[in-house]
C-alpha cells in the first residue's frame, strides 16, 4: 500500500492508483472533464491539476493521470491550483462558449469575466461545445475498439472528426461517445452513416430507449441491473468492458451463462399475464401511421411518473400537451370478424381512470370516449364511471369510430353517435386505443410444458368453469390472472390468492393422495417383455425381480411406481399378455361399459 497526504489528510491506496483515486477515497472532489473511470486517463483537459508539494517533482500534475507515490504531499486547493483551474476554465470558455458545463464550473470558480476573446469570433460558431478533451476518441479507440472517430488537425485547429471527414462505416452506432462527452457536444449522427440504433425500452412500450445495461422496470425484483447481450458491445465485438472497469463491487461477470434451473416442486401456478393485441391491423384507426394514435398501455406509460416523459403528457408528434383526446373502446375486443369475440373486461374501467389522469395532466383539455356499452360490473365500478361522466371529465359517445385520419396537425376522429343518430367528427390531438387483451406470447409453449389445455384464443383452460376455476386438469397446476382470461386487478388478486392456497393445500401434507386410477401389474401373468416400459411417459415402470424364500430369482416382471403413474393406460393397451389393468378402467369394466351402452 502507498501512503500519501492530500490536503493534510493521510490516505492509503493500492499501487497503481492515481491521485484522483486517492482523493476520492477521502471523499474529496476534484473537478474533471476528460476523465471517465472506464477510459484510460489522458490528462488532457488539465482541469484536475493538483499541486505536488513534496514527495515527487514539485509542481502541478493532473490528478486523473498521475500515479500516487509513497510520501507524496498533495494540495488540491492551493492558490497555484486554483489559479490554474480558473485559467483553464477561462480558456475553455473562450474556446467553447456553448458548453454549459464549463459555464457552470466557471461560475463555481468565481469567474465573472473572461480576458480572452471567444474563438467563436473567428469561427462564428457561438454554440461550440466541444472542448477537445478527446474522451470520445479514446473511448471509441481504446474501449469500444471501433476507432470511428479521431482527431483531425492539430493545435488550435484540432477537431474531433471521422477519418477523411466521411461518415464512418466502422461506427457501431453505440452512442457511447455522446454518452461520455462531458459537454454534450456530440451527436453520433454526425459520424455514423447508419441511424443510431436506440434500444427500445420494452417496459415503456418502446416509447423511450434504454442502455444495454438496465433494470427491466422500476421496483423489479431483484432490483438489479442486467446486461442485454444482444445489444452489449462487449458481446457483439469483444470490445468495451467499461462496466467491469467501473463497477466498484466487481459484480460484472461476462462469463455467466443462461442456465437451466431445475427445481422439484409440488405445485405450479401459471400467472403469465397478458399482452395487448397490435391494433395496427385495423388500418382505420391509423395506429402505427400516426404517432399520436397510441394504445392504452402506451398512454398508461406516458402518464406514469416513472415513464418515458416522467409523467408529462405530450403528443409524440410534436411534444405539445394534447388539448383534445379521444379514447376508443373495444379495439379488437367483442369483434367476431378479424378480432377477438370476447370482452377484454378491463378497458371500460381503465379508460375512465385514464380520463381522470388526463384531466390531472391537462387541466383545460377535453376528453371523449367512444364506447359500445360500459361494462362496469364490480364493486363501486359503476359509480366510478358515472362520476367521470357526471363531472364532465370525459364526454361519453355511444358508438363506434369508422376512421381516424390526419388533417393538419390534428387527428380527425369520425364516428357515429348512435344515441343521437348522428355522425360526429372530433379534431383530436391524441387518440388512445383500448386494444384487446390477449394472453402473453409463448403461452402455447407453456401450456404444452404444463400439459394444460388452452382455448382458441390461447387462454389456459381451467378444470371446470364453475366448480374448479383455479385448477387445471393437470394435478398440481393452478391458474392466476390473465393467463386464464382477461381480468382486472381485484379478480386477479382473488384468483391468485385462491391458486396459492390450493397449491399450499397440496404441498403442506407429508403424504400425497394419489388418484385411484393407476395401473396394476398382474405379476403372475407378466412375462417381462417390458413393452409397457417403452410406452410409459412417466418412467413409472421398472423391472422387479420375484424371488423365492432362498433369494433365487424366479421371474422378472414389470412394476409400476404408484406415485409416478398417472393412469393413462397406455401400458394396459400395449400389454400383450393382458397383465396390466388400470384401476377404474379395467378391461372388464370397459367391456361392461361397451356392453351396457349397446344394450
Amino acid at each position: 500500500m502507498i501512503t500519501l497526504t492530500i490536503d493534510g489528510q493521510q490516505v492509503e491506496v493500492e499501487p497503481g492508483k492515481t491521485i484522483l483515486d486517492a482523493a476520492k477515497s477521502l471523499g474529496k472532489v476534484i473537478p474533471t472533464l476528460c476523465y471517465h473511470p472506464a477510459v484510460p486517463a489522458a490528462g488532457a483537459c488539465r482541469i484536475c491539476v493538483v499541486e505536488v508539494v513534496a514527495g515527487d517533482r514539485p509542481g502541478l500534475v493532473p490528478a486523473c493521470a498521475y500515479p500516487a507515490k509513497e510520501g507524496m504531499d498533495i494540495q488540491t486547493q492551493s492558490d497555484r491550483v486554483m489559479q490554474s483551474r480558473r485559467m483553464t476554465l477561462q480558456l475553455l470558455l473562450a474556446r467553447s462558449p456553448g458548453a454549459e458545463v464549463i459555464q457552470d464550473m466557471a461560475r463555481d470558480h468565481g469567474i465573472t469575466e473572461n480576458p480572452f476573446p471567444e474563438r467563436a469570433k473567428q469561427t462564428g460558431d457561438k454554440s461550440e461545445k466541444c472542448i477537445m478533451c478527446g474522451l470520445c476518441v479514446r473511448l471509441c479507440q481504446q474501449i469500444i475498439g471501433a476507432s470511428a472517430i479521431c482527431f483531425d488537425g492539430r493545435g488550435p485547429d484540432r477537431k474531433v472528426s471521422t477519418p477523411y471527414n466521411n461518415q464512418s462505416d466502422v461506427c457501431l452506432g453505440c452512442g457511447a461517445c455522446a454518452f461520455v462527452c462531458p459537454t454534450g457536444a456530440i451527436d453520433p449522427a454526425d459520424y455514423s452513416p447508419s441511424p443510431i440504433e436506440k434500444i427500445p425500452n420494452e417496459f415503456n412500450c418502446g416509447l423511450d430507449s434504454r442502455t444495454p445495461i438496465h433494470i427491466p422496470f422500476p421496483q423489479a425484483v431483484p432490483n438489479k441491473p442486467l446486461i442485454d447481450r444482444d445489444n452489449c458491445i462487449r458481446f457483439k465485438t469483444g470490445g468495451c468492458g467499461a462496466c467491469e472497469t467501473i463497477c466498484p463491487a466487481g459484480a460484472i461477470n461476462y462469463d455467466m451463462e443462461d442456465e437451466f434451473v431445475e427445481e422439484e416442486v409440488g405445485a405450479i401456478i401459471a400467472a403469465t399475464g397478458y399482452e395487448i393485441m397490435d391494433p395496427s391491423i385495423y388500418e382505420e384507426y391509423g395506429y402505427g401511421r400516426y404517432p399520436d394514435v397510441v394504445t392504452s398501455l402506451e398512454f398508461e406509460r406516458m402518464v406514469s411518473a416513472s415513464g418515458p416523459t416522467n409523467g408529462e403528457l405530450t403528443r409524440p408528434s410534436n411534444g405539445e400537451p394534447p388539448k383534445t383526446i379521444v379514447f376508443l373502446q373495444c379495439i379488437g375486443s367483442r369483434r367476431e370478424v378479424n378480432g377477438k369475440p370476447y370482452c377484454s373486461n378491463i378497458c371500460c374501467m381503465y379508460t375512465a381512470k385514464h380520463a381522470i389522469l388526463y384531466k390531472h395532466k391537462v387541466h383545460d383539455g377535453q376528453a371523449f370516449v367512444f364506447f359500445m356499452d360500459v361494462r362496469a360490473a364490480g364493486k363501486n365500478y359503476d359509480q366510478f364511471v358515472r362520476r367521470v361522466v357526471k363531472e364532465q371529465i370525459a364526454t361519453y359517445v355511444r358508438g363506434r369510430v369508422s376512421k381516424v385520419f390526419a388533417r393538419g396537425d390534428k387527428l380527425i376522429v369520425r364516428g357515429a353517435d348512435t344515441l343521437s343518430g348522428t355522425q360526429v367528427e372530433i379534431a383530436a390531438d391524441m387518440v388512445v386505443l383500448a386494444a384487446a387483451l390477449v394472453p402473453s406470447s409463448g403461452i402455447r409453449e407453456l401450456s404444452q410444458k404444463l400439459r394444460v389445455g388452452f382455448d382458441e384464443h390461447g387462454f389456459l383452460l381451467e378444470a371446470h368453469p364453475k366448480l374448479r376455476p383455479v385448477d387445471t386438469n393437470t394435478a398440481g397446476v393452478f391458474l392466476a390472472g390473465c393467463c386464464h382470461s382477461p381480468k382486472d386487478i381485484p379478480e386477479s388478486v382473488a384468483q391468485a390468492g385462491a391458486a396459492a392456497s390450493k397449491a399450499l393445500g397440496l404441498v403442506c401434507h407429508t403424504r400425497l393422495s394419489r388418484e385411484p386410477t393407476i395401473g396394476i401389474v398382474d405379476e403372475s401373468s407378466c412375462n417381462g417383455c417390458f413393452e409397457c416400459e417403452g410406452v410409459c411417459a412417466y418412467g413409472a415402470i421398472s423391472a422387479k425381480e420375484l424371488k423365492d424364500k432362498k433369494g433365487n430369482t424366479l421371474a422378472t416382471v414389470a412394476n409400476i411406481n404408484q406415485g409416478l403413474c398417472q393412469g393413462c393406460g397406455a401400458c394396459a393397451a400395449t400389454c400383450r399378455s393382458k397383465s396390466i389393468e388400470v384401476q377404474g378402467y379395467r378391461d372388464d369394466q370397459l367391456f361392461a361399459a361397451i356392453n351396457a351402452i349397446n344394450r
Binding site: R451, P465, T474, C568, G569, A570, A573, Y585, I594, N598
Partner: protein, 156 residues
Amino acid sequence: MIQKAKNETTDPSEWQPRIVAFLCNWCSYAGADLAGMSRLAYPAAIKIVRVPCSGRVDPMFVIKSFEQGADLVLVSGCHPGDCHYTSGNYHARRKLLAFRELMTFFGIDPRRFKISWVSAAEGAKWSNLVKEITDEVKALGPFETYSEILTGETGP
C-alpha cells in the same frame, strides 16, 4: 342432456345408428362436456365410453363394440402434442391406424372406424363431428356384416 338431444332429433320410424365413442378424459370428453354445457345439440346416436387417454384404447374395445352392435366406432383424443399424458395419443394414433389396416384384412369397412382429435375447448367441434359421422353412418346403413361374420365363422 343426452336425453334431451335425443328427443329433439329422434324420429321413431327412422333407423337410428349406434355409435360407440371412446373419449379421452382430458380433451375429448371435456370437449363433449363443454358442448353439453354450452347447450350445443348433437345426435343422440353416440354413446360415450370415457377412457383416461386415447392411448388406453385397446383394439379389442373396438371389436367388442362392433360385436355388441355398433355401427361405427370413434376414438377421440387430445390434439397431437397436447396429450395430457404427454404421448398417449401418439401411441393411440400409431396403434389404431395399424388396426384400421387390419380391419380391411378381416373384412370390416374401415369407414366405420374413426379417429379424431378434439380438445377440451372444442365443444362446437365435437358437436359438428358427431353430426357428421352420424350422417355418414346413416349413409352407410346398419352394420350387419359383422354379426354375419360372427355367426358364420366364429363364436362370440
